[in-house]
């Protein structure tokens, strides 16, 4: 369902970014990068919330004509960004409302990001992975792929 999934380091460089289809990969890179603006905005806006929440689902970062960009940030300021095709409504329906209502857990987006986060944590625990490096992990790849193809 997702067309692009990215993990972005605290310093805002991409640790991992994978998109499908690959031909407009570039577009997604631009899109994700631009979405960081909103991520920063939201983080600074709810800086307080960050303290008590362990991780933060930022909900819809911004919509474009064809895509919706969702964001999620861990307490270690690692960001997950997911681009979803607008025609895919699984994530879209009432996203805004439920987010504004503040119950993240209900949104499908939150669950996907949770999965992503866990998988990322496993990557971090791999002794052969040096934090800060770009992620090259089969397990992570597979998980991301599953998220991209799965139609939820």
């Amino acid at each position: 369902m997702a067309v692009c999934i990215a993990v972005i380091a605290k310093e805002n460089y991409p640790l991992y970014i994978r998109s499908t289809p690959t031909e407009n990969e570039l577009k997604f890179h631009y899109m994700v990068h631009t979405s960081l603006d909103v991520v920063d905005e939201k983080i600074s806006a709810m800086g307080k919330a960050l303290v008590d929440q362990r991780e933060l689902y930022l909900g819809l970062l911004y919509p474009t004509e064809d895509y919706k960009v969702y964001g999620y940030v861990t307490n270690s300021k690692v960001k997950f960004v997911m681009v979803v095709d607008s025609s895919n409504t699984a994530l879209r329906d009432n996203e805004i409302r439920s987010v504004s209502a503040g119950d993240w857990r209900t949104t499908p987006g939150w669950w996907m990001f949770r999965k992503l986060h866990n998988s990322y944590t496993d990557v971090m625990c791999n002794p052969f992975y040096n934090p800060g490096d770009r992620i090259q992990s089969r397990a992570f790849d597979n998980m991301v792929m599953s998220m991209m193809i799965q139609v939820c």
Partner: protein
């Protein structure tokens, strides 16, 4: 609308909507009351309890009072709510029965019937009474009666439907009360009616919605119904509720579209699938867009119409609710989702139509919001609106591209047609915006009208957007818009404008390390720079792109080619160079010195091998690769010597360089630590300190701009320093990937060379690595030639051939054929030149390079050693045998026994060679070919032997014993020992008592030799002996050279026996054995053996009548204290100097132990009086103690076994220091002159009888 004939008042849809209340009965009365009523009604809020558990609300009621008409009453199934009369009031002020009966009642009845007929139950009868009327009435009925009548007649069991309003126009408390009562009633009834009717309406609506799956169901109809509800809520100022109605409709519709996309389409949707013909964006200026509404009503609305209308309503309500930012946000969503829905429904849309629609809508929304907010609000909420701005910009751009307004040659006919069609689709401008200058409609029309106009509008929009993004800190977004702008400029062939935007964007991407955007932007930048003719930047960008792995092979090749073709084209100005940073072209991986410790002597060859990893996709031929070297004189000589080399061997001498991953913002997470070093610049001429300071070696890593490598995009600050010192390597072809390049250089000036820059030149292009880091240095040193001569063993032995090692460190001197060392021989040291002497030549690093025969020629004066030719900075080593002859100084070493120390004696040698070998030094001065001065070296040889002699006597026979002590570690063969008497002793014979001529002397062992002295007549007073013995190392089977024997000279004086001393002990008389504790007598007899001799001629000699006397002193000492000497143990005697003259002394001694006791020994001295006139008799004790002191001295001197020459002096010195006044002096007789015949005799002593304990002293 279901009110056929009556044209409904147009006001109905303005916001002045109020719930309708009809008024029947006395119109005049009503009009009189109306003002008060309409003003009083809304004053008090009333709580409205809602159905479906909705929260109760306080609302202010207003009403629109209209005259009662039957037509107003809705027919069955009428869905119109706004026209629905919620309450019917009958007004009357009739107060007398007659009138009531006559007219009012009928009228009421009729009214009631009509209501009944329409089953409307929301009615009220108001009876107004005023006293004025009553006054002039004579037959007054109580007011109540009329009201009661009415109640009876009409409101059965709901008496509250009839109220009284008394004196409404008066101003009295009573009036007030009745008003309040009335109003409350009125409100209550109104609300009841709302609740009832709305509830009913909602029920109907729901049922209608439930039917939506049925075939005939039409969304539009339903839309109208629910909107009706929305209207009512709006009318009641319940905007929230109103909004909910629209949101529900919105959701419902969206859901349908989604489902349609999913496959199950409701046939009514097909209405909305009709092709889009009009795209005149949203209209938000009117509360209600009637045209669209009617379209919907007539079920002719397109999807856009519906959406537009729906949104316009939501917008209106949101604005009522003071939520303009939500409008903006929803607008964006709406626009997006519309586009999606059209796609989903596969509605055919002429190209550009949607863009127009979106563009117009965006501006409309923005203007609408601006219309109702002040500047400050807007500025503080840019975050909400900016999305619309950029969306509009985007759309305008695509319109521009679509209509050929961006190409610099302007639109072609087909573009124009398209433009016309698009404009047609806009229709005519709306009246409400017709007179606003900047209306979206006008903007769009104008923008599309001409290239210039478009540019203006597009730029305005873009700049505005960028500005807003920047102002709220959405830099990335701003840059992104900027890139679009750049593209636009590129299209418009004005790259100079585009560049700044591209640079800006690139900076951000580089700073955050986004590879793909970097690559893409670089590509654009490259094009831009090409157009601008910024050769350098273009080449730089190209090289970066050529090395960019995110590009396809072809693209990389293309850019690489760009660089190369520039490089190869003949540049008009030959001096012109283009300096580019290296890292994009090739990366320095590692560097390796040979020799690996990176220290080389002057003139030596140093090779530096670097690994360059070429980033280019194709092999590149490089005319020259040069390493720029900085030279600094450093007179740290030690570091530059050959020893240093051999000590400091770096493991492999490979320096690795960190691989820089260019699009990775390393600078952000890990800043390197300062690397500070102290720096001394010395002047080349005289190594004096010019400057000193602290330098930071990695400053280039610390002090670079935050957007690290982005500085490379700008004209790079790479300075190409060309110093005198360069390592060059020409005509290299760099294959893609790793290349090894070797620089060879011959070291010239001594000093430290620091590798600064790496520069590869391709034609006029220079790829420069501005800082080679970590610091790489090599050192060049120069060394003076040196000669070392040292013994192989730790000490050289005199007398036998010894090996000496010569080491020539050539340093900067090259040993040529014929160069030789000239050794000026020391007379006592030979240099033995065997046939084969080989010299070994080592390289600087101690590797053996060659060896050669060594020619040594000795003349009497000099020995010349011709060195084998050797290059500079090599080491020549060879060994020579030297032989130190046991010459005079060597033998003279013995004379120290005579107490005269040798000049050459080295005391430290004494200590080191533990067993104090006597040493002798030989100084040899050597002339080296490289210097005019001759080197003097000293070799120290140690004599392996020490010899002592002693004189032995029996009676008058004499013997000389020589003890040869081998002090060395070696064993020797001793041969043909020989002792000759030198001097005038003619008739002195030396008879050797040593048998074998050959004998071995082991290390540290002594060997003894004895000779007997014989003579015929009176012997000479002194014997000068010279002992000589041949020796050779026991190990050596045969020696090339004949060795000189070892000699030892000594002399013995006064060895002729003059006196015989004999001691005897006699047991006490009557006993034949001595017993302990019993006195025995000791008899000492001193016998003169010869007549007057030369030796007697001294001051002790006195001439008496016919004979000579000499004074002697005897002394009995028993060191073993076996005996107690009783009485005087010593005494002076006058001895006649004549043969066989004897003197006897008796004294008592007592044995203290039993056993065979040695006799106490008797000593004899010469007693020399002082020759001052007054010779005074000294009391014995004084001089006894005196000479007892001298005796002691004499005692140990005797043990020394030396000759008596120095006695007198020693003694006199002692006595002189002993007493001021002159004293007689004692002088021990030389050992040779006294023979103690009873030495070694023992006497048996028995223990005394009465002793129970037997004490035995065993000696």
């Amino acid at each position: 609308m279901a009110a056929p004939e009556e044209p409904l008042p147009p006001v109905i849809y303005t916001m002045e909507n109020k719930p309708i209340v009809t008024c029947a009965g006395d119109q005049n009365l009503f009009t009189s009351i109306y003002p008060t009523l309409s003003q009083q009604l809304p004053r008090e809020p009333m709580e409205w309890r809602r159905s479906y558990g909705r929260a109760p609300k306080m609302i202010h009621l207003e009403s629109n009072f209209v005259q009662f008409k039957e037509e107003l009453l809705p027919k069955e199934g009428n869905k119109a709510l706004l026209t629905f009369p919620f309450l019917h009031i009958y007004w009357t002020e009739c107060c007398d029965t007659e009138v009531y009966k006559a007219t009012v009642k009928d009228d009421l009845t009729k009214w009631q019937n009509v209501l009944k007929a329409h089953s409307s139950v929301d009615w009220l009868i108001v009876v107004v009474e005023n006293d004025a009327k009553k006054k002039n009435k004579t037959n007054i009925l109580p007011r109540t009666s009329i009201v009661d009548k009415i109640r009876n007649d009409f409101c059965n069991k709901q008496s509250d439907r009839c109220v009284v309003l008394s004196d409404p126009l008066k101003d009295s408390s009573r009036t007030q009360e009745s008003w309040n009562a009335f109003l409350t009633k009125l409100r209550t009834l109104l609300l009841m009616s709302f609740t009832k009717n709305l509830g009913k309406f909602e029920d109907d609506m729901r049922t209608l919605r439930e039917k939506r799956t049925e075939p005939g169901w039409s969304f539009c109809e339903y839309f109208m119904v629910q909107e009706e509800l929305a209207f009512v809520f709006e009318m009641l100022q319940q905007f929230e509720d109103a909004l909910v109605q629209y949101d529900e409709l919105d959701a419902l519709f969206s859901q349908y579209v989604v489902n349609f996309g999913a496959g199950d389409g409701a046939n009514w949707l097909t209405f909305f699938c009709q092709p889009v013909k009009s795209w005149s964006g949203l209209i938000l200026r009117k509360p209600i867009d009637m045209e669209k509404r009617e379209l919907i009503q007539r079920q002719e609305a397109t999807l856009l119409d519906l959406r537009s209308y729906l949104f316009s309503r939501q917008c209106t309500l949101l604005l009522f609710l003071q939520r303009p930012w939500e409008v903006a946000q929803r607008a964006l969503e709406l626009l997006h989702s519309c586009v999606q829905e059209l796609k989903l429904l596969e509605v055919s849309v002429p190209p550009g139509a949607l863009d127009c629609w979106v563009f117009l809508s965006c501006l409309e929304v923005l203007q609408r919001i601006e219309g109702c907010c002040d500047r400050a609000q807007i500025d503080s909420n840019i975050a909400h609106t900016v999305g619309l701005w950029s969306y509009a910009t985007e759309k305008l751009k695509s319109l521009g591209y679509l209509c050929g307004l961006v190409s610099e040659k302007g639109p072609n006919s087909e573009d124009l047609n398209r433009t016309v069609d698009l404009l047609a689709g806009l229709g005519a401008e709306r009246p409400e915006t017709a007179n606003t200058a900047q209306s979206p409609y006008k903007k769009l029309k104008e923008a599309l009208s001409s290239v210039e106009a478009f540019e203006k509008h597009y730029l305005d929009l873009s700049h505005a957007t960028i500005e807003m993004y920047t102002s709220i800190g959405r830099i990335r977004s701003a840059k992104f818009v900027g890139k679009d702008l750049a593209e636009f400029y590129m299209r418009k062939k004005s790259p100079q404008k585009a560049e700044i935007y591209l640079q800006g964007a690139l900076k951000t991407y580089l700073a955050e390390g986004w590879a793909l955007p970097i690559t893409h932007t670089r590509k654009q930048l490259a094009e831009c720079q090409k157009h601008l003719g910024q050769t350098e930047n273009y080449l730089q960008t190209s090289s970066l792109l050529a090395s960019d792995y995110h590009l396809t092979e072809e693209q990389r090749k293309y850019f690489c080619q760009e660089v190369l073709s520039f490089a190869h084209q003949q540049s008009d100005s030959p001096g012109h160079r283009v300096v580019l940073p290296m890292h994009s072209f090739a990366q320095l991986r590692d560097l390796h010195f040979d020799p690996s410790n990176a220290v080389v002597h002057v003139g030596g060859i140093l090779s530096v091998e670097i690994t360059l990893c070429s980033q280019m996709p194709v092999p590149v031929h490089v005319e020259q690769i040069a390493i720029n070297v900085h030279f600094s004189i450093e007179k740290n000589t030690y570091r530059k010597t050959a020893e240093w080399l051999t000590k400091h061997k770096t493991s492999n001498g490979i320096i690795k360089f960190p691989v820089e991953t260019s699009p990775f913002p390393a600078s952000q997470n890990i800043l390197p630590a300062l690397e500070l070093y102290e720096m001394f610049e010395r002047s080349p001429s005289d190594n004096s300190l010019n400057t000193t300071g602290i330098i930071c070696r990695n400053v280039h890593m610390l002090l670079r701009r935050q957007e690290s490598s982005s500085s490379l995009e700008a004209p790079s600050g790479v300075a190409l320093e060309d110093g005198a010192h360069m390592l060059r390597c020409s005509n290299v072809t760099l294959e893609p990937g790793a290349n090894k390049i070797t620089f060879r250089t011959q070291a010239k000036e001594p000093g430290t060379y620091t590798l600064r820059q790496l520069c590869a030149s391709v034609g006029p292009v220079r790829f420069v690595l501005p800082h080679i880091y970590p610091l790489v240095q090599y050192d060049v040193y120069s060394q003076e030639p040196q000669l070392h001569v040292e013994p192989l063993a730790d000490s050289l032995l005199a007398g036998i051939p010894q090996k000496v090692k010569f080491t020539v460190t050539t340093g900067h001197y090259t040993v040529r054929n014929g160069d030789s060392l000239q050794l000026s021989n020391a007379e006592a040291m030979l240099i033995l030149c065997q046939a084969e002497n080989r010299a070994v030549i080592y390289s600087n690093t101690r590797e053996k390079s060659s060896d050669a025969a060594l020619r040594v020629q000795s003349s009497d004066k000099v020995t010349s050693i011709s060195l084998p030719p050797a290059p500079a900075y090599h080491v020549i080593e060879f060994e020579l045998d030297v032989l130190s002859l046991p010459s005079v100084p060597a033998a003279g070493g013995e004379s120290d026994l005579r107490g005269t120390p040798e000049p050459q004696r080295k005391h430290k040698d004494r200590q080191t060679a533990g067993h104090c070998m006597v040493t002798t030094d030989h100084k040899v001065s050597i002339d080296c070919p490289w210097s005019i001065y001759s080197t003097v070296i000293a070799l120290t040889f140690s004599v392996p032997f020490r010899t002592t002699h002693s004189l032995l006597s029996t009676g008058t026979r004499k013997y000389v014993q020589l003890c040869v002590q081998n002090l060395s570690e070696l064993d020797f063969q001793l041969s043909d020992s020989n002792l000759v008497a030198t001097g005038d002793s003619t008739d002195l014979q030396l008879i050797p008592l040593n048998t074998e001529s050959q004998q071995c002397i082991c290390s540290k062992q002594p060997v003894f030799f004895v000779w007997e002295l014989r003579w015929t007549q009176e012997p000479p007073p002194a014997l000068h002996g010279q002992f000589s013995i041949g020796f050779s190392p026991a190990s050596e089977e045969r020696l090339s050279v004949s060795l000189k024997p070892y000699t030892y000279e000594f002399q013995v004086e006064n060895y002729f026996t003059l006196y015989n001393v004999k001691a005897e002990i006699f047991p006490p008389s009557g006993m034949q054995h001595c017993r302990t504790g019993l006195l025995c007598s000791l008899e000492v007899s001193i016998t003169r053996l010869s007549d007057l001799l030369e030796v007697d001629k001294d001051e002790a000699l006195m001439e008496s009548d016919q004979c000579f006397l000499t004074k002697l002193m005897y002394e009995v000492v028993d060191n073993s204290s076996n005996w107690a000497v009783c009485g005087k143990s010593c005494g002076a005697i006058s001895m006649p100097v004549a043969a066989r003259a004897t003197h006897r002394v008796r004294m008592d001694v007592m044995p203290l132990f039993a056993g065979h006791l040695p006799l106490p020994d008797v000593r004899l001295f010469k007693y020399l009086p002082h020759h001052s006139a007054h010779s005074s008799q000294l009391d014995a004790d004084s001089w006894i103690e005196n000479d007892s002191l001298s005796v002691d001295r004499h005692g140990d001197e005797q043990s020394d076994g030396g000759s008596g020459r120095s006695r007198g002096s020693v003694h006199s010195a002692s006595s002189a220091e002993h007493k001021g006044l002159p004293m007689p002096r004692l002088q021990a007789l030389p050992t040779g002159q006294v023979f103690n015949s009873s030495a070694g005799m023992q006497v048996l002593v028995l223990p005394s009888q009465d002793n129970h304990v037997l004490e035995v002293s065993v000696t």
